[in-house]
């Protein structure tokens, strides 16, 4: 169903230098969305399509989509709880060796790598609050994560190495 005015602008830029500095041709997906749940669903679909175009292994595609769900969902739910209108920017770069996601926003500063609660589900008890599981999954699926507060907002870098079938 078309959502006029909400579709994120999609840009494929194959001329960019490789983000992971491995000297291979890279492809990059750049998207910017408002802090709206519908826009997140569209963004996840764009990431899925991009990963399939790049023929990424299933685990890498899953990790990229899940990272976008968890991080952006948290930004929408908690990072804008003061009613602000935020912009969320994704840059996803892939090449032969790995993928790199950079998520930037102008939401309330929050370092999920340091301050997200530990997920209760891991302990087998009844969860009393929802937080923590998403960022825990992201960290588990990614090989590298780094956060910095930037321009009054947030910048999160995530990297995952690729194990291609034929390498």
């Amino acid at each position: 169903m078309p959502k006029s005015g909400r579709q994120p602008q999609r840009r494929l830029d194959r001329a960019r230098p490789p983000a992971l500095d491995v000297g291979m041709a890279a492809a990059t997906l750049i998207q910017e969305i408002p802090n709206e749940s519908d826009a997140l669903i569209d963004l996840m679909e764009e990431v899925r399509r991009f990963c399939e175009e790049q023929e990424l292994p299933g685990d890498a595609e899953y990790a990229a989509i899940l990272a976008v769900e968890e991080i952006v969902n948290n930004t929408i739910k908690y990072g804008c709880r003061d009613g602000r209108r935020a912009r969320i920017r994704l840059e996803l770069a892939v090449n032969e060796d790995g993928l790199e996601l950079v998520l930037e926003d102008d939401a309330i500063p929050f370092n999920p790598l340091r301050d997200a609660p530990e997920p209760e589900a891991l302990h087998g008890g009844a969860p009393t609050k929802a937080g923590g599981l998403g960022i825990f999954l992201v960290r588990s699926l990614m090989d590298e994560a780094a956060y910095e507060a930037k321009n009054g907002g947030n910048r999160l870098l995530l990297r995952k190495s690729l194990a291609r079938k034929n390498t």
């Binding site: 749940s37 519908d38 997140l40 669903i41 996840m44 299933g58 685990d59 899953y62 989509i65 899940l66 769900e69 968890e70 969902n73 997920p119 589900a121 891991l122 302990h123 087998g124 009844a126 969860p127 929802a130 599981l133 998403g134 825990f136 999954l137 588990s140 699926l141």
Partner: protein, 111 residues
């Protein structure tokens, strides 16, 4: 995302298909509510689910907890490899049992 329900004896079976993103997780909560309210034994077949994130996992978790509170039990079966990995990382394989096949899941609920 779609859910097809069926039953085998006193066991309700919910076969989910599609991708469980945050939007689908809201639908999942609504769709599971009557099953959790009426059934004691619920088998969730995830054979046709290629993606689930924490929003969807939480709905399954809460459904399982609600069933357990009423003396019931929820099990999941037929997980695709990537979904299975997420379940393992999330710790779902500890409090809620997962099975490779629906037959094994049904047998466990009957036992």
């Amino acid at each position: 995302m779609e859910i097809k329900t069926s039953s085998e004896g006193d066991i309700q079976i919910a076969a989910i298909s599609g991708r469980i993103d945050p939007q689908a997780a809201i639908d999942l909560k609504k769709d599971l509510a009557p099953l959790v309210g009426n059934a004691k034994k619920l088998c969730i077949n995830l054979a046709e689910v290629s993606y689930i994130g924490s929003a969807g996992l939480r709905e399954l978790f809460f459904a399982a907890k609600n069933l357990e509170r009423n003396g019931g039990k929820l099990v999941c079966c037929s997980l695709q490899p990537e979904v299975k990995r997420i379940f393992e990382i999330a710790g779902f394989s500890i409090p809620y049992q997962t099975f490779d096949t629906q037959d094994e899941a049904i047998a466990a609920l009957q036992g």
